[in-house]
Structures are given as C-alpha cells and as structure tokens.
C-alpha cells in the first residue's frame, strides 16, 4: 500500500522521520515528492496524481480547495521558523549590517513567488529596512531545498532557510545560524489537505490524521516547528 | 525495335541548351555514341532507362510506349528491363561480387558463366572497395548482364581497363550480347576504344 505525498521543501528533513514512523505504525509506504509549495500547486492543478499535500503556508492549499482540487479546507499542522545561516562562522549578532558588508557576496533566499519561506525572508529584510540594498546580492533558489544546497556547498555565503535544516545536519556539518525574530515576518502557518486524487483512499485519510496526531507533533517540534 | 523522338534540355552555365534526338534502334543492333564531354550522352542513356525524363517527345520500345509527354506516360525503370552500366559503376559497397549477381538474378549457372566471362571467379567474396578499378568496371558490366536485359546501355565501358584486359573482355562480350539478342547502346569519347564492336555510330557533335 502506497500513498503519494506532496510536501513543501522545508519539510524535507522531517519527512524522512515521519515516513519511517508512519510506516512502522501502519505499514503504509509514503512516496514523498518534494518541491516548493507553489510548484507543487502548479503540478496538482495540471493533474499530478498526489494524495495529500503538505504546504508551507495556508493560501496555496486554500487556492487548491477553491479550484476543486482538495477534499476539504486546509488545516494548520505546524508553524515554521525562519533562520539565517552559513557554513562560515561570521557571527550573526548584527546580521542586518553584516549582509551589507563586503564579506557577504551572495545571499540565498527561496523564490518568494512560490516558496513561503522565501516570502518570509523578504519580509524580514524589509522589516530591517535593507531589502533594496541587499537585492544585488540575492540569489533565488527554486525552493528552500535549493537554498539549502547553496548554503551547504558554500556557493552562497549566507542564506535564509528553515530551522529544520539545523537538526538535519546535526554535527555532521557545522552550521552557524540565528533564529530570526518571528515578529519580523508574517507567521508561517503550514496547512495540510487531502487532494481529490486521494479522496477515496483510506490510507490518505490515515496519514492526514497521523500528521495531526501528538506523535507527529512531537517530531515536528524536535525539528524546530511550533505546534499547537 | 526502339524508337526515340525526344527533346532534352541540358543545363549549362550560360543558359540552357535544347537537344533534339530522333532515332530508331533496331532489335539486336549495336550503336556507338560518341561526343565531347558534357554533350548529353549520359543524359540520353538515363532517359532511355527511365531514370530521368526528357522535356518532350516519345519513346516506344517493341510496341510498348515507355514515355509520352502528351499522354503523360512514363514507365518506371523497374518495368523497362534495361541493363545499365553506369559511368561511375554504381556498385553496392555492402555486397560482395557474388552478392551483387545474386541480388540481380536467381540463376546460379548464369552467375557462374558471368564470373568466368569477367575473370572474377577468384574474387567472389570481395567487396568493391577491395577490387581494383578494372575489376570494378568488369563487375558493373556483369551485373548489368545478369538480369538478361533486352536493352543494354553501357556508359564508358573500358576507361579503367588496361589494353590487354580490354581486348579480352570485348572479345567475350560480343557473342554474349548476340546470344541475349539485346539491343545495345555504348557510350565513349574514345572512338578507338569501340573499334572492335561493329555497329552504327551516333555522333553527338553533329547535334550542336
């Protein structure tokens, strides 16, 4: 028994753990398709055969529901937390000033149009009043995953990404980071929906309930998400 | 008997030239075509074989209309049963000597006879690339004979052969052509070369 889950890229580290735990509990295998929330919505709208969608915001799944691609209105399963990080230890105490120094050549953020984490990053820069000055240094990742690639390979000096990356890398790769003040950006409320393709699939239903269960919530929490 | 009455347009650098050819070739006869380079000799042979079409006119062979621009008749080369020896030989690079002849005919005894005629019996498993220029030319002649054609068109038949081989081949070719009863047209720009063949001469120079 398999279900296909489309998951926003920020969930990539945590998905592997959820997959294992869910498989252990129910015997159901999850094929995860990872991408930016917006890209996944575009694919679903063109007929991609996904059963459940875990977004990085509420508005993408709401659009799907409005257009008849989702079974019900989305509900929040976690809220995400944005960090600024680097593989170089350059100190983030005054990161808004650091970004404008010559030390930092490239700043990676996710494409704000399709990745909610990218949007949050842009809001944070705006909040600090340095968006325009930083713009020439910004490179855009297709999703938060590509931003992670740019950060960990060091091709970008600094990037804005999800806190779950820190846990993922653990002690393997030293990562220097600072959690961005949540007041600097709109809350990243992440929503889940069962899609039309999975509407009659009891396994999809099971997974949906699992994600909202305390077991899943504690995993999310361990990866830096806030849960109710 | 083959009767030809056609107009050919030859393409040349300074415009086009119109050539009118009207002639009858009686069955079993040999005609030698002479003429300078570029005068249209090869073109005429191709038109007779059905490989190109003249501008205007008629070609009638033994009562069958092969070409008629007014009736819009143009019999395909496959149906004309002409043996054609190409100026550049047009041998098949993928086939051995033996396979060339087998592609043309199923008659094994006939193939043997041809191989002896062309002194190629020692080369049956050679492909064209590994034949000398003279051997290639002989294979081209044999292949044309293999289909036992009623009309034999030979373009520059001996240019690659040294004189000894030339005499030898001509002596053997003559009785064979007679035996097949084939009407034959041979093209050359070297009159000496065709001395051994008795027959009429058609000189293209006169047409200009």
């Amino acid at each position: 028994q398999n279900i296909r889950v489309a998951a926003a890229a920020n969930l990539q580290p945590v998905m592997e753990v959820l997959q294992k735990d869910f498989k252990q509990k129910t015997g159901i295998t999850i094929d995860a398709v990872i991408g930016s929330s917006g890209k996944l919505v575009a694919q679903i709208s063109n007929g991609a055969p996904f059963d459940v969608f875990l977004s990085a915001d509420m508005s993408f799944p709401e659009t799907l529901f409005k257009n008849g691609f989702a079974k019900e209105k989305p509900v929040v399963y976690a809220s995400g937390s944005l960090i600024i990080c680097s593989i170089q230890n350059i100190g983030f105490e005054n990161w808004e000033r650091l970004l404008l120094t010559a030390r930092v050549k490239k700043i990676a953020i996710a494409n704000p149009a399709i990745a909610p984490y990218g949007k949050a990053a842009e809001q944070s820069l705006l909040d600090k009043g340095i968006l325009d000055d930083a713009k020439p240094k910004i490179v855009y990742g297709e999703s938060i995953s590509q931003v992670n690639t740019y950060i960990t390979t060091g091709v970008a000096d600094i990037g804005f990404t999800t806190q779950s990356l820190v846990k993922e890398l653990g002690d393997k790769t030293p990562l220097y980071y600072k959690v961005i003040d949540p007041k600097a950006y709109d809350p990243i409320l992440q929503g889940i929906v069962i899609l039309k393709h999975g509407a009659d699939n009891p396994a999809a239903e099971k997974f949906y309930h699992y994600i909202l269960s305390p077991a899943a919530k504690s995993i999310f929490k361990a990866y830096g998400y806030r849960v109710q | 008997m083959i009767s030809i009455d056609i107009e050919i347009k030859l393409k040349a650098y300074h415009g086009r030239q119109l050539l009118r050819i009207k002639r009858q070739f009686s069955t079993g006869s040999i005609t030698k075509i002479l003429g300078p380079s570029g005068s249209g000799k090869t073109t005429l042979l191709k038109i007779i074989a059905g490989l190109s079409a003249p501008e205007k006119g008629k070609i009638i062979a033994n009562g069958v209309t092969w070409f008629d621009d007014q009736q819009k008749i143009n019999l395909s080369p496959q149906k004309r049963n002409t043996g054609f020896v190409f100026q550049n030989y047009a041998l098949f690079p993928n086939m051995t000597v033996q396979q060339h002849l087998e592609y043309a005919t199923n008659d094994g005894a006939w193939i043997k006879q041809l191989l002896q005629l062309g002194r190629l019996d020692g080369f049956t498993d050679h492909k064209p690339d590994y034949l000398s220029g003279g051997q290639q030319q002989r294979l081209a002649i044999l292949r044309a004979l293999a289909i036992k054609p009623k009309l034999l068109l030979i373009d520059e038949p001996f240019s690659a052969l040294d004189s000894k081989m030339k005499t030898l081949l001509m002596d053997e070719l003559k009785p064979l052509i007679k035996q097949l009863g084939a009407t034959t047209i041979i093209v050359s720009h070297n009159l000496q070369e065709l001395e051994a063949f008795e027959g009429e001469i058609m000189d293209f120079e006169a047409l200009f």
């Binding site: 398709v33 694919q43 007929g47 | 191709k46 080369p77 004309r80 550049n88 592609y103 293999a146």
Partner: protein, 223 residues
Amino acid sequence: MDLSPIWLTLKLAGITTLLLLLIGLPFAWWLSRGRSFIKIIFEAIITMPLVLPPSVLGFYLLLAFSPQHGLGKWLHNTFDVQLVFSFPGLILASVIYSIPFMVGPVKSALQQLPGSLAEASYTMGKTEWQTFRYVLLPNIKPSLLTAAVLTFAHTLGEFGVVLMIGGNIPGVTRVASIAVYDSVEKMDYASANNYSLILFSITFVLVIAVFVFNKYQAKGPLA
C-alpha cells in the same frame, strides 16, 4: 542507493530508441529524397526540439497534455489516459525530444549515398522498399548505429522536459537526471555523485563504443 531511477531511465531510453527506429527511418528516407518546400518545413520542425529550451518544449507539452483543457482533457475523458505525470507521457515527450537525433544523421547519410546506387537497383527491377532494405540501409550502418546510440544517450539525459511534465514521482517518472537534481536538493551529495557516475559511465562507454566501431567499419578488413 535506490537504483529504480536508473532502471526507469534505461527502460525509457530503450523504448524511445525502438519507437524512433520505427518512425524515424522511413521519415528520414522520405526527407532524403529530393528537396521541396514542404520537406524544408518538416525538417525545420523536427530540428526544433534540438534547439528549443526543454522548458519551452515542456511548457507546450504540459498545456497539451494537461487534463484541464484541450487534447489532454479529451484523452482523459474519452480513453481515461493521462499523459502528464505518467510514464507513457514521458515516452511521448522523449520521442518528440529525441527525434532530431535519429532523423538527422540517418537523413544525411542517406543523402550522401550516390543517387546511382538506388538507380542501379531500380534498373534491376527492384522496388523502392527492396532498394531501401537491401541497398541503402546496409550502406549507412555506421550512421544508423551512431543515430541509435545518440538517441538512446540523449534520452538518458532528458531533464527539463521531465521536470516540467514528469513531476518526480518515484518509480513512475523519477528518471536518473531528476534523481540527481533531487539528491542535490536533499544535500545527499553521495547519491548525486553515484547517479552521475553511473550515467557518465554508461554514456562514455556508449560514445566510445560507437567511435571505435565506426573507426573499425571505416577501415574494413585491411585494418
């Protein structure tokens, strides 16, 4: 490491190459015989996938195949066939994507054969098909092989189109090139490296094999 992307890729490339041999050879033959305006247009059209951005090709295929409208909707409603995010869709896209690799070399090779070869065969009473089968095809074997191998290898490397209409579904549309991209995004560089090495090796061996074979062919028994 999960080897299914490699198998999937080999399967896709194999089927595409076979289909293109069936479609491409007669088409190349037709194109090789004389030049007319309509042939120039056709030739330009089949050259397009060679030079168009895969994302453009993928975009138009997405529009055409999407069950939301047009062709895709009709296919979906009438035959319950869906071409986006499905293996048959990838095959169709690959055929379109790789067609110039099959048709181009074969057409050029056929054109470079002297016209008198076919003419000689016709005077011997052979049909066009016999001539194609026994005289023309055997004499372009090296080009045919080159074309088949390049088609195969080019399909191995298909990326942009699959990214657009494939959707990275494990075991269905996650071919090797996508798996590499995906592994890089997951920061699983070991896997990305392994997939890349496997693809690189297959491609390299194929390309070398063709060159050596063609060299051998060209030289013949005298060596």
